[in-house]
């Protein structure tokens, strides 16, 4: 029978726990050079010599006294469960602070193995750690490791296989600090935490906690002085981080760099991705033509050419742009630049009811709102967290990108396309801030907000992580959105190809104008006509209610059915459509901008609504969000069309 061992992975934020978790379990847990990326526990496992090791990756924390929801997860897990072993990841460059948490955990009397990570970085800074001396001082097993490259992982696995786990010595002897307050003898450190966790906090308890931490730091200081040695290089070498920070965090130049970096990102995002997107579009048009030419009378062939192929194209065509977006997101996070943005933008964010810590969730919202909403757990105050959660849906997620790209390519002249995309992203940011400002005025609280955050050093982004991040964003997009888009495309093809023939009293193959889809679209047309849309766009708005990206595949299916020239691409077909009421092209500047604004605001994503519900524990907030954004979408689209038509 297989034996099982339960391990917890624990350490300070940004110490490399998730990298080690990935190395051990083979699962990909998102990593970045930013404190507080892991906000939820994640379970993985590995089998070593007939033993099943379950590994729980916990969010990072600095001590066992939590300041935010993600930090609370750690102490809750430690008090509610007793793992067989704690794998403690210590950042070699910040050993002082790592050991604070270590000494607290050691006092919980749980067996620990210490993994000293990032030693290469420490050596580059001209410092050395006497590991064997530290091992003796802490009386625990220490393994040197580089969780990025995997160095030391084998040794850790060997240690785990030996299964000789022992509790380590206590480094904090001042138990009377707690016992005097509790008025109890033989009070264990675990019991103290149980007491603190279950009782009201007061000034005396806060004072005890502070004294405890200082006492621990004083002991650690002595160990550090005997263990860490600075070489000549440490005094001479000007760190790259310091040189870069001189410019990137400069009170004036810093902001200029933020704008420049964002501009370059969007310029590249639009221009570079256009090539593979055009190839894919033309390739699918060519395949479609070949399939249709096989047998023009066969309904099955028509189904493949008009429903399945446009559906698949609607998914695949946007992969280059989504992949590029994730490359930039990963590079910014991994390099450590995101933390600099927090520094520069915190004072502005506060005016909008948020904090600098809202930057990462908001930026992640540019990729996908669902993980972005989950990552708000690192924001310590309730009000700032709530405002951030409700502002995230305004950010331009990757699902909006296909809609924007398609519409911009049709209605905006070539030279203004990248700028238009940037403007749409700016609108997202602007309205996220505006919403935050209004919410800040409405939500009253006595809770004190603070920003005490470690600034990570600059690091060169790992190519492997960039590739893994792309894989982990593109594959789910293709799987989830793909299934969804493909099934809607198929259902839509039937609705747009068949209609009720009252003369024969039966459903039969008909032209698109008399189909079920046309009847549905024409029913809602009076509501959307003031926005400049025809019934086909109306159908696309309805089908994309659950997920925005369905808009493109819906139009692809509808226009594929309603076409005479088979080899036309979606772009050319959309350009040639004429609005029967106005006699103008359906997709002109006025209706195009109206649609772009509609999609910039409308919260057409069921998963985002579910994520808001989960994180706020209430249906009230997703309903508020949906209603406010729907009204904004309709009003802005109406104004844009009426002014530009």
């Amino acid at each position: 029978m297989q034996k099982s061992v339960r391990c917890f992975l624990i350490g300070n934020p940004n110490s490399g726990k998730s990298s080690l978790f990935n190395q051990l379990t083979g699962i990909y847990q998102k990593i970045a050079n930013y404190p507080g990326v892991t906000t939820e526990k994640k379970l993985g496992s590995m089998v070593l010599e007939n033993t099943d090791f379950s590994i729980l990756d916990l969010p990072g924390c600095y001590s066992l006294y939590p300041n935010s929801i993600d930090e609370r997860v750690v102490i809750d897990e430690l008090l509610s469960q007793k793992p067989d072993l704690l794998i403690f990841v210590a950042d070699a460059c910040h050993l002082h602070r790592s050991l604070l948490l270590y000494t607290q955990i050691a006092d919980l009397k749980i067996p620990i193995v210490v993994v000293v990570n990032m030693l290469d970085e420490l050596h580059k800074n001209g410092e050395e750690i006497d590991i064997s001396f530290l091992e003796k001082e802490l009386e625990t097993k220490i393994i040197e490791c580089n969780s990025k490259t995997g160095k030391g992982v084998l040794e850790l696995k060997k240690y785990l296989m030996a299964q000789e786990f022992n509790t380590t010595k206590s480094l904090f002897g001042n138990k009377t600090l707690f016992e005097d307050y509790i008025n109890a003898n033989n009070f264990s450190y675990r019991e103290w935490h149980q007491f603190v966790n279950s009782s009201e906090q007061n000034a005396i308890v806060e004072n005890i906690k502070r004294k405890e931490i200082i006492d621990r730091y004083n002991k650690i200081e002595k160990i550090i002085n005997l263990t860490v040695r600075k070489t000549e290089l440490a005094f001479k070498r000007k760190r790259i981080t310091d040189i870069l920070d001189k410019y990137l965090m400069h009170p004036r130049w810093g902001y200029l760099f933020v704008i420049m970096i964002l501009f370059v990102v969007f310029q590249v995002l639009f221009t570079l991705a256009a090539y593979p997107m055009d190839w894919l579009d033309q390739w699918f048009a060519w395949i479609s033509e070949r399939v249709n030419a096989m047998d023009t009378s066969s309904i099955f062939v028509k189904f493949i050419a008009e429903a399945v192929l446009p559906g698949i194209a609607g998914v695949l065509i946007f992969i280059p742009q989504i992949a590029l977006l994730f490359v930039f997101n990963t590079v910014l996070e991994e390099s450590g630049y995101t933390a600099r943005m927090v520094f520069l933008l915190d004072r502005w964010m506060r005016k909008f009811g948020m904090s600098g810590k809202s930057i990462l969730p908001l930026m992640s919202g540019n990729a996908c709102a669902i993980p972005a909403i989950a990552s708000t757990k690192a924001i310590p105050t309730h009000k700032e967290r709530l405002i951030t959660i409700l502002s995230i849906p305004f950010m331009t997620c990757s699902a909006r990108l296909p809609v924007y790209t398609l519409l911009i390519s049709i209605v905006i002249p070539t030279q203004y396309r990248a700028l238009s995309l940037l403007l749409l992203y700016m609108i997202g940011v602007l309205f996220a801030m505006l919403f935050g400002w209004v919410a800040n005025q409405c939500i009253k609280t006595n809770e004190k907000s603070f920003l005490i955050m470690e600034m990570p050093p600059y690091r060169f982004p790992s190519f492997k992580n960039i590739v893994l991040n792309i894989k982990n964003s593109v594959v789910p997009f293709v799987k989830v959105a793909g299934k969804f888009i493909l099934s809607i495309s198929i259902v839509l093809w039937f609705l747009a190809s068949f209609g009720w023939n009252s003369a024969h009293s039966k459903f039969e193959k008909t032209d698109i104008e008399h189909s079920v889809a046309a009847n549905l679209g024409k029913t809602i047309e009076p509501v959307i006509r003031p926005l400049g849309y025809d019934w086909k766009i109306g159908v696309a708005l309805v089908t994309s209610f659950a997920a925005r990206e369905v808009f493109v595949s819906t139009l692809a299916t509808l226009y594929k059915i309603d076409t005479t020239t088979e080899d036309e691409t979606l772009f050319s077909k959309m350009k040639s459509q004429v609005n029967t009421y106005t006699g103008k092209p359906v997709f002109n500047l006025a209706s195009g901008i109206s649609l772009l604004l509609f999609y910039a605001f409308a919260l057409q994503c069921m998963s985002t609504l579910a994520a808001i519900r989960k994180e706020t524990d209430s249906w009230k907030y997703p309903m508020y969000s949906f209603t406010i954004m729907a009204v904004l979408a309709y009003v802005s689209a109406f104004i844009a069309y009426q002014l530009l038509k």
């Binding site: 600095y62 300041n67 915190d346 004072r347 004190k448 920003l451 955050m453």
Partner: protein
């Protein structure tokens, strides 16, 4: 004086912390009596600070920096004495 009174590149030694809601967090990050701190950078209106303490750079808001009482010190003289 408090941390906000120090200029960029200046060093100080923490001698006291004002009582506030984030006192424990400050101590956790290494701001406690006797620690040397230095100002790395601040935004134009001194609303956000980047402070060096225990080999790390910590971001603080003005209100947090203002709760850290420091005694200004000349790092060069200190190093020479050392």
């Amino acid at each position: 004086m408090t941390l906000i009174d120090l200029e960029k590149g200046e060093h100080g030694i923490v001698y006291s912390l004002k009582h506030n809601d984030f006192l424990l967090k400050l101590v956790e990050m290494g701001f406690y009596e006797g620690r040397m701190v230095s100002i790395e950078e601040y935004t134009s209106d001194k609303e956000t600070f980047c402070v060096s303490v225990s080999d790390s750079k910590i971001m603080l808001r003005k209100v947090e920096a203002d709760s850290i009482m420091v005694q200004k010190c000349d790092i060069k003289a200190k190093l020479m004495n050392h």
